[in-house]
């Protein structure tokens, strides 16, 4: 039999690397297997890295990690065809240590992070695809890879293989995701000189902006678009639930092209040159879609476990936190001397008790509700735009009459009660 490790982690994204790092740091013999040419090579993220969960793994990581810009302003754009209503918060306290969150390019960040895990003693192998878990007596005892002599054993296998998690599926932990449980997102990294970014987004060199865009950006389908500033590039992307795409017969890249040429966006992109085009799924099923997380000798973390808060666009942080929790559980199980489902189960309970479980529970019906009731994205955003336009257009109409007109436009067709219901429903799912 070939070599045996304490832990095999499959996938060197934020989840897997956090787990490998924590386990190796505490003296476990860890093998981290990544299918990409290097960690991050193919990984995709809009680009907001939250400070808190990362800091819990590597304190003061910002002093060393390849980050793009700390975000000092979060903007929200509610876009119609030729207009938008915007709101934002900018705070310079976010421009200073310890910062709030950062934009990152995953290809750089993931590689750096994985190297840190290697420094802690984890063994990293790239360009190797894990094809399945080796199951003996209903216990996961290792993994099989696509390489010759490709079997390798461990006490625990941690599945951090991202949204599709074929491995967890093969174990029967979850079924094929339904189209409404995943969002398809496409994005481009576009090269733009530092100076232009600073000028267009009104920031200084080491300050970044995140823009979340709703409404016309997804043609009213459930989803959002985003625009984030890196050092000398920007990330622009758009995604909707797969079901939304199917329903509206939209092609993702077409959506992105339209977004890029939208009159509200285009001026920001002037002269920018596409460096990379990426497409990826985001698990958005939320609380109700969380699969079985623990089995004998196996655990599931990060996107593979559907740990994404779609409403707040949090994913990498949950991935990291879950990875860390999984590693801590393994350490405890090691003391107990057995890696049974029972001994690993505290990972599941810890996870549900943490912000991850709580947040996902809070929003558990949100996506579903918005999906069922397209009115929010299809109608309210344009209405908001028209309301603002009506209000601020100086045309001799009394403001009082304007308000009436606006109210009428909101209730037309849905009735006062309908609007009230919509508002209540929205409040309930995100409250």
């Amino acid at each position: 039999m070939s070599e045996k490790f304490d832990v095999i982690v499959v996938g060197a994204g934020p989840a897997g690397t956090s787990c490998a790092y924590t386990a190796a740091k505490n003296g476990l013999k860890v093998l981290l297997i990544e299918r990409g040419e290097f960690p991050g090579a193919k990984n995709v993220m809009g680009g907001i890295l939250y400070r808190k969960q990362m800091e819990e793994i590597i304190p003061e990581f910002w002093k060393e990690a390849p980050l793009e810009r700390p975000v000092v302003e979060q903007r929200f754009w509610f876009m119609d065809k030729e207009s938008m209503v915007t709101t934002s918060y900018k705070g310079l306290e976010w421009a200073q240590e310890p910062y709030n969150n950062f934009t990152v390019l995953r290809a750089k960040f993931d590689k750096w992070f994985a190297d840190k895990a290697v420094e802690q003693g984890a063994l990293l192998i790239n360009e190797t695809v894990v094809t399945e878990c080796i199951v003996e007596d209903e216990k996961v005892v290792g993994v099989r890879t696509d390489r010759p002599d490709g079997e390798i054993y461990a006490d625990v296998v941690v599945l951090a293989d991202g949204v599709n998690s074929l491995l967890a599926k093969k174990l029967g932990f979850h079924k094929e995701w339904k189209p409404e449980e995943v969002a398809l997102t496409v994005m481009e990294v576009m090269k733009m000189p530092k100076g232009s970014i600073n000028e267009r987004f009104n920031v200084e060199d080491n300050q970044g902006v995140s823009v979340e865009i709703f409404g016309e950006s997804t043609k009213g389908a459930l989803g959002t678009a985003f625009l984030y500033t890196n050092k000398d590039s920007i990330n622009i992307g758009v995604g909707t639930t797969l079901s939304g795409m199917i329903k509206k017969k939209m092609k993702p890249h077409q959506l992105l092209e339209e977004l890029k040429s939208h009159p509200m966006i285009k001026p920001y992109l002037e002269g920018a040159e596409t460096l990379e085009y990426l497409a990826h799924l985001i698990p958005e099923g939320g609380y109700n879609s969380i699969p079985k997380l623990v089995g004998d000798g196996v655990m599931v973390i990060g996107d593979a476990a559907q740990l994404v808060n779609a409403i707040h666009r949090e994913g990498s942080n949950m991935a990291m936190a879950s990875g860390k929790m999984a590693a801590e559980t393994i350490l405890k199980a090691k003391e107990l001397g057995e890696f049974t489902e029972r001994n690993l189960d505290s990972y599941r309970t810890d996870l549900y008790d943490s912000f991850i479980g709580k947040d996902l529970k809070k929003y558990k019906d949100a996506a579903h509700t918005f999906e069922e009731h397209p009115v929010y994205f299809e109608q309210y955003v344009p209405l908001m735009n028209r309301a603002m336009s009506t209000m601020f257009t100086v045309d001799g109409t009394a403001k009082w009459d304007k308000q009436k007109k606006i109210m009428n436009s909101f209730t037309a067709g849905r009735g006062k009660l309908g609007v009230a219901k919509d508002l209540y429903r929205a409040w309930r799912v995100v409250k």
Binding site: S2, E3, L31, L124, I125, R147, P148, D149, G150
Partner: protein, 276 residues
């Protein structure tokens, strides 16, 4: 049979960018890879070892990061790897490179004996193919360049037969051992490395030597000082004005193309057409 393979870490020229202001290589833009030809050389060494026994050692000269390329060779199946790394090696052209590598090879020769040295046909950054024959000359062993096949190894008689690719075919050449081969890509397919090799490589730490670890080195022959050639200037290759585009429907386009092809009338047996 102990085989030594010289390998080099090179920037991936597919992704390389040139800084337009300084006309120098933007090294950060291009990931470093194992020179593709050298991967074939290592693969061939591993294959020969499987048949004839012995050991495969790789040797590289370069900055500390070049260890990554050596580890890649361990993935392919090399047993050991040495990196000679020292500021005094820096700036070497092919003459100084072959000298430094030769000095390291001498030391390995004394320590473990070497029956065969393998190199890539050329390194994709410098593209010279001069280092291999240079090493052979210094070791006073025959260089067999552009090898596409090892036909036979006779360890008892201490000789081998290989196919060398030449412009219009190949030649079958026999040489005494030790000798040095530079290999073409056709020589083999680099196999998908087995998992145990991957794990071994992930763990492996190449041995690093500085100038001081080598014996009887003439410092004057190393690095920039020992390099007769220098780069005078660099400039971006002339961008051609771009093609003259031919519009119209396909028929018209085809006709026009034929006319343009006939600008090279001398190439075609268009009888009677005057030779241009």
């Amino acid at each position: 049979m102990n085989i030594l393979v010289c390998i080099k870490q090179v920037p991936d020229t597919k992704i390389i960018k040139i800084n337009p202001k300084t006309n120098t290589l933007d090294r950060s833009s291009a990931p470093a890879i194992l020179n593709p030809y050298d991967a074939h050389a290592v693969q061939e060494a591993v294959r020969l070892k499987e048949v004839h026994g012995g050991k495969v050692t790789v040797l590289s000269m370069g900055p500390p990061q070049a260890k990554v390329a050596i580890k890649k060779c361990v993935e392919i199946g090399a047993d050991e790897g040495y990196l000679i790394s020292d500021r005094r090696f820096a700036g070497a052209d092919t003459l100084a490179t072959s000298y430094a590598l030769y000095k390291a090879i001498q030391k390995l020769m004394d320590e473990q004996g070497i029956d065969l040295v393998l190199c890539g046909k050329h390194a994709i950054d410098g593209d010279t193919g001069q280092v291999g024959p240079g090493i052979a000359r210094r070791m006073e062993i025959p260089p067999l360049t552009n090898v596409i096949k090892v036909e036979e190894v006779d360890l008892k008689e201490k000789r081998m037969k290989v196919r060398r690719k030449i412009e219009d075919g190949y030649e079958l050449i026999q040489s005494e051992l030790p000798c040095l081969l530079t290999v073409e890509k056709e020589i083999n397919d680099v196999a998908y490395s087995p998992l145990p090799n991957m794990i071994k490589a992930a763990r492996y730490n190449p041995i690093v030597w500085t100038v001081d670890d080598l014996d009887d080195v003439d410092i004057k022959q190393l690095g920039l000082k020992g390099s007769p050639t220098i780069v005078g200037k660099m400039w971006p290759p002339e961008k051609s004005a771009g093609a003259e585009m031919i519009d119209g429907d396909v028929k018209k386009q085809a006709k026009a193309l034929v006319e343009h092809m006939l600008e090279k009338r001398e190439l075609f047996e268009v009888k009677g057409g005057e030779k241009v």
